[in-house]
């Protein structure tokens, strides 16, 4: 159809080839070749995680570690150089636990930022540098976690920062769902790890 012509041209405008960061990929990950990896610190992605097209992993601010079965959606930025002028004490930029989902357009700033296992970082969220988000938290869309803020485990942050405990106890279920999703995604997203190695 008509738009195919555009798609062909689109490849001409691919990400600017910056300094290639040293990467450490598990063999079982899925990473789209239009994902953007920049920076100097190493980027580690553990087994069966999925990186969508146009997702950005920036290791300028420090090393980026992504756990197992995480999903990094398009346009999200992991390791964004924080607007909050906060200097990382260690070289750890961002650490994502296992089963973490980073939704479309979310930004996780670099600088000892930690996101716990099974946590969802919603659409358009912003996690400030040095913030520590606990396990199995849910950040609803457009939530902003201030730099250095701490979100305890099993917390839901909604309606501009209101917090409440998540009492559903469905962490296991969610992980399972994530697994299913990954199964599907790895079939759909043509993976090209070689490009980044």
């Amino acid at each position: 159809m008509a738009t195919t012509s555009s798609s062909s041209k689109r490849h001409s405008i691919l990400p600017p080839a910056g300094p290639k960061p040293p990467v450490q990929f598990s063999s079982s990950i899925t990473i789209a070749d239009s994902a953007l990896l920049t920076g100097s610190h190493p980027i580690t992605i553990s087994s069966e995680s999925v990186v969508h097209p146009r997702a950005r992993l920036e290791s300028l601010g420090g090393r980026i570690t992504i756990g197992r079965r995480c999903i990094i959606h398009e346009r999200s930025t992991v390791g964004a150089v924080g607007t909050s002028n906060r200097t990382a004490t260690t070289d750890k930029g961002v650490t994502l636990g296992d089963y973490v989902t980073v939704e479309v357009g979310a930004a996780i700033e670099a600088g000892d930022t930690v996101v716990g296992d099974g946590t969802i970082v919603g659409v358009g969220c912003k996690v400030g540098a040095g913030a520590v988000v606990g396990k199995h938290c849910t950040l609803t869309p457009h939530t902003e976690i201030a730099a250095g803020d701490v979100v305890p485990d099993f917390t839901v942050v909604y309606s501009n920062g209101v917090r409440r405990p998540d009492r559903r106890g469905v962490a296991e279920l969610r992980n399972k769902g994530q697994t299913r999703q990954i199964e599907v995604l790895r079939r759909m997203i043509p993976s090209n790890p070689a490009k980044f190695q």
């Binding site: 159809m1 008509a2 798609s7 689109r10 398009e74 358009g124 457009h142 299913r180 199964e183 599907v184």
Partner: protein, 197 residues
């Protein structure tokens, strides 16, 4: 947006679609544009996330229908918005469902739309997050910055806002014409015309 790079900023298809060269359309073969639809730069459409149930061989849906995103006529996708089909667990298996959009639908800049269905004459403001498999009927206005929760059904003639979004008013009888996007369509493209005063 009426500045003109030497080589037309937009690709104008024979059906009158105006697709910006800087737009990212993934899986174009699964994207249907009804015609006279404007796709501005930095728009992203995930056509690659097709429904995968038939692959799962459960619920043998028509295998032919691989359409991931179907967009009607006179739609206007503003700069930086993102359309992606909603995913959900269907009988324990994960699958994406097609995203269907009617005519005269305006999607504001920076919005992320994961609805299942959007009717005709819908205005989605800027920085809106439309949750997965939401259903938006005709003549709905979603104000800027709203977060439409997943699975929400928005009836016709609703004004919607808030986090989470709720119906906060009704579209008055005199407000229908405001949803028309024909004039807006004229104002963009490679030789845009000024909006009629």
């Amino acid at each position: 947006m009426s500045r003109r790079p030497p080589r037309g900023e937009y690709i104008e298809t024979d059906t009158g679609n105006k697709v910006a060269r800087k737009a990212t359309l993934v899986g174009t073969q699964n994207i249907i544009l009804g015609g006279k639809t404007v796709i501005q730069p930095e728009v992203m459409i995930r056509g690659d996330l097709i429904r995968s149930v038939q692959a799962q061989s459960s619920s043998g849906g028509a295998p032919a229908s691989n359409t991931a995103v179907a967009i009607g006529r006179y739609c206007f996708l503003s700069r930086g918005c993102c359309l992606r089909p909603p995913g959900r667990l269907y009988k324990g298996a994960f699958t994406y469902m097609p995203l269907r959009i009617g005519d005269h639908v305006f999607v504001g800049p920076g919005s992320v739309v994961q609805a299942a269905f959007i009717g005709n004459h819908v205005h989605i403001g800027s920085k809106v997050a439309v949750g997965e498999s939401a259903i938006i009927k005709d003549y709905v206005r979603i104000l800027d910055g709203s977060v439409v929760p997943p699975n929400m059904v928005i009836p016709s003639f609703s004004v919607v806002a808030g986090q989470p979004a709720r119906v906060i008013g009704e579209v008055p009888e005199g407000g229908h014409e405001a949803f028309e996007l024909r004039d807006l369509y004229k104002t963009v493209g490679n030789n845009p015309q000024p909006a009629p005063s």
